[in-house]
């Protein structure tokens, strides 16, 4: 009996994220966006964003062999096209640094499994798939993170800080022994009064690609793409709680030392992460309540 080859990760991501569906609905649109991106009127309107893309492409995951080796020029062109098409498609959002790393990660994950596509046809197809996966991620999962004001990213950062303050209210099974490390970690971060904005942008706006080894980041992505932003918060808690031994070495009030640890957590295994993320399971309704409280707070501050 023929064995069915496991589906490559990029295909799985495309399907689970909704990117594959977007692609079906938008046949031919990607190449049209690329044509538009070369149009003089468009480039004059979107010049700032497109110029930033050009600045950032060489600075996207530059330490990876994909972006250093023989494939690097083609890989950078690939990335440039995806980002330019994004800027034209979502001119309302535009380009924010971090999107480049997310797009580069999509390409990296593909390349690490099947290599760089050699034929033009294969390249065009993969590029189309990855582009719509990027659109799905930024639209369905991270909507509002990359706007001019980054409001939703700031809200979710505040949510995370609210969980640090009272993990018992947000964890799915408060009091369970498996939560012990999470609760301790939250306690430390809260006691140090760590401003979540010192950590969260780097985590959320690059989806951990600037924080974890890419193989591990890809594993974290599997969960986030499947479960959405709730898993993003759970993953954040998990990564922090896996750093508990290092966090415990810091002075209890040294928020900056803690932030530095969270910027570059000591490497851990996939298995350790999987166990931690289970221990960090959150009650979805708890998040809803916290979100409502946040909205209320903002409304009140507007009234004041």
């Amino acid at each position: 009996m023929a064995r069915v080859a496991p589906q490559p990760r990029y295909m799985r991501w495309a399907e689970v994220s909704g990117g594959a569906k977007l692609r079906t609905l938008n046949r031919g649109v990607y190449s049209a966006l690329l044509v538009l991106a070369d149009n003089a009127i468009i480039t004059s309107r979107l010049g700032t964003a497109l110029a930033q893309v050009d600045l950032d492409v060489p600075r996207s995951l530059p330490d990876e062999p994909l972006f250093r080796g023989l494939d690097a020029p083609a890989a950078r062109e690939f990335l440039t096209r995806m980002l330019r098409a994004w800027v034209v498609l979502r001119f309302d959002v535009g380009y924010t640094q971090g999107i480049n790393s997310i797009a580069a990660m999509l390409l990296w994950a593909t390349w690490s499994e099947i290599g760089f596509p050699s034929s033009t046809k294969a390249r065009a197809k993969i590029e189309d798939i990855l582009f719509w996966t990027l659109v799905a991620l930024l639209t369905f999962h991270l909507e509002g993170y990359f706007t001019q004001t980054m409001d939703r990213m700031k809200d979710d950062a505040a949510l995370l800080a609210a969980i640090w303050a009272s993990p018992g209210r947000a964890l799915a099974d408060p009091g369970a022994l498996r939560h012990a490390d999470v609760v301790l970690t939250c306690g430390k971060l809260h006691a140090a009064e760590l401003d979540p904005l010192l950590v969260v942008p780097k985590w959320f706006l690059t989806l951990f690609t600037h924080v974890l080894p890419l193989e591990l980041a890809a594993h974290v992505w599997d969960g986030i793409i499947e479960h959405g932003v709730l898993r993003l918060l759970e993953s954040s808690l998990a990564i922090a709680s896996l750093s508990l031994p290092e966090l415990s070495q810091c002075e209890p009030s040294d928020a900056i030392a803690m932030a530095s640890i969270l910027h570059r957590p000591t490497p851990f295994t996939r298995e350790a992460f999987d166990a931690a993320v289970v221990a960090c399971a959150l009650r979805p309704d708890a998040l809803f309540e916290a979100e409502q409280a946040l909205i209320g707070e903002r409304a009140r501050s507007h009234l004041d």
Binding site: Q52, R59, L205
Partner: protein
């Protein structure tokens, strides 16, 4: 002391930091997302050890939505532009406004023209930048993170200035019996910890506020 590095995208802020704190430089480094921290201590002429905590920030304009959180508590700012890109220099004024809006009033600011190794590509004249700095009452230096010229000088000069300012202020406030009160007692107003070796001569008595 907390010093922030600010300025347009890709002017070399992160490389100035890595040159100063680790003596490293890389032509293609990741763009900074949010903020990065590094520390280094330097000695002053009178034998004090100043511990600097340097915050390197994202340069893209829209990151100002969050970077204002990084100015609070900073006592110094290196405002960096690229001598080979005029726009990064013309944006300096906007960065100064950012500082006026979000940073503490008496923050020490130094204008830094980076990439001075790119002589043949220079478009911002030293005299122009010097004049601008003078007009705005800030100091000025040109550096190259690539060949390391003036990097050490830039950081130690701003740190020394901060040290002198803090010493003076603290003596004045001791004399007058009133210090400047902080705008808010939240955790973001990190302060001014001087590692004093000669405690008897210690003018800076401030402790961490939070």
């Amino acid at each position: 002391y907390t010093v922030v590095l600010i300025g347009d995208s890709a002017v070399g802020k992160s490389n100035l930091l890595s040159r100063f704190t680790r003596d490293e430089f890389s032509l293609e480094s990741k763009s900074t997302i949010g903020v990065e921290f590094a520390t280094r201590s330097i000695s002053t002429d009178d034998g004090k050890v100043l511990k600097a905590q340097i915050w390197d920030t994202a340069g893209q304009e829209r990151y100002r939505a969050i970077t204002s959180a990084y100015y609070r508590g900073a006592v110094g700012a290196l405002l960096v532009y690229d001598i080979s890109k005029y726009e990064t220099f013309s944006n300096v004024e906007r960065w100064l406004k950012e500082l006026r809006d979000h940073a503490e009033n008496h923050i020490e600011v130094m204008l830094v023209g980076n990439k001075s190794d790119l002589r043949h590509l220079r478009v911002v004249m030293t005299e122009d930048a010097e004049a601008f700095a003078q007009e705005n009452g800030i100091s000025f230096i040109e550096t190259s993170a690539l060949d390391a010229s003036n990097v050490e000088e830039a950081f130690s000069s701003i740190l020394t200035k901060i040290y002198e300012k803090v010493s003076r202020k603290s003596m004045n406030s001791d004399a007058a019996g009133s210090g400047k009160t902080k705008p808010m007692a939240n955790n973001a107003s990190k302060v001014i910890v001087v590692d004093n070796e000669n405690d008897d001569a210690a003018p800076a008595k401030k402790k961490k506020c939070c």
